[in-house]
Symmetry: C2
Subunit: 186 residues, 2 copies
């Protein structure tokens, strides 16, 4: 069977079918801050019948093992892939996380919570400086500008408070009460 040209042909068709999905998903992977190459890696592991080693990935994609190593790490960070253990196998094995809801939520939470935190901190620091100007500047023009800026930042803070609430919706899993997971329905 391994040298059966018709079987090879069928296998080729299978690859082609898979490739259709892999190519598309790789293109949209940048939404998770993941490069297209790493997206293809994800797709490859996704369709694999069993967990893959770095060497197998390297072979499958025709890319260096180094790239597989860094790519897998990105995917691990994004909780899109996990390491599995198999008896008697020395190499690291990886499979895709099958709970896509979880992957999405994790990425969503991680990214927005972090961004919110940093931005709110920056707002606080900026406010300190602006308040000083507003209260102490000898120039009315400066005081007015500082006040106007403070108003703008206050609005921004409201928004970040809301965004934090939204992130919490995903973190607590409450989102699944509001938008239930689909099971088998179209």
């Amino acid at each position: 069977m391994l040298n059966d040209p018709i079987y090879e042909d069928e296998l080729e068709k299978l690859e082609e079918a898979r490739n259709c999905f892999i190519t598309e998903i790789a293109k949209n992977m940048h939404l998770y801050n993941i490069t297209a190459s790493t997206g293809r890696l994800y797709g490859t592991v996704f369709f694999a019948e069993k967990p893959m080693t770095l060497d197998e990935m390297s072979e499958a994609l025709g890319m260096s093992k180094t790239s597989m190593s860094t790519g897998i790490r990105s995917l691990l960070d994004a909780d899109m892939v996990e390491r599995v253990w198999e008896k008697g196998i020395r190499k690291d094995l990886y499979k895709t996380e099958d709970d896509w809801y979880k992957s999405f939520s994790n990425v969503f939470i991680k990214r927005w919570r972090n961004a919110t935190k940093l931005n709110v901190e920056a707002i606080e620091e900026t406010k300190v400086q602006l308040r000083r100007l507003k209260e102490e500047s000898p120039y009315e023009g400066i005081r007015e500008k500082a006040e106007a800026d403070l108003d703008k930042l206050a609005k921004a803070e409201e928004y970040y408070a809301w965004l934090t609430d939204v992130v919490n919706l995903f973190e607590t899993g409450e989102i699944f009460n509001i938008v239930p997971k689909r099971k088998g329905d179209k």
Copy 2:
């Protein structure tokens, strides 16, 4: 006042305060698929007392007008900036969208809806090919693989159906019933 060194100094302090926020927001702008440079552009327009022209932006940031043009376009695409019209002014004027809830929602909707659409289309196409293999391949191994892949894709479809629901939550504005906008509270 224009040549008053103390006033200049105060203005400098104002710039510095603003810069603190601008720098941070620019760093996190990549979450909206926007470069750090364009992020700084956003910050500059955000703090400006009145709508800015491309030339003013170029002057303020020390970058080419071409870059301002393309940067502003990215921001327009993301609904983070809008063009405004002022009587007697020939140049295009831009201000930041003050409804950040809207900006966030728009970006969120646009990006995820688009990604979902493309991925679902790819899944459909892949399914067609896999079904053919599953039904017509003379090799049991191939038929089994095709079936396994179809199962995986079915799970992916469920996820995308859910994601579409989530996106709709933002598109219809229903998210604001669940997570109300903050007004003035901390």
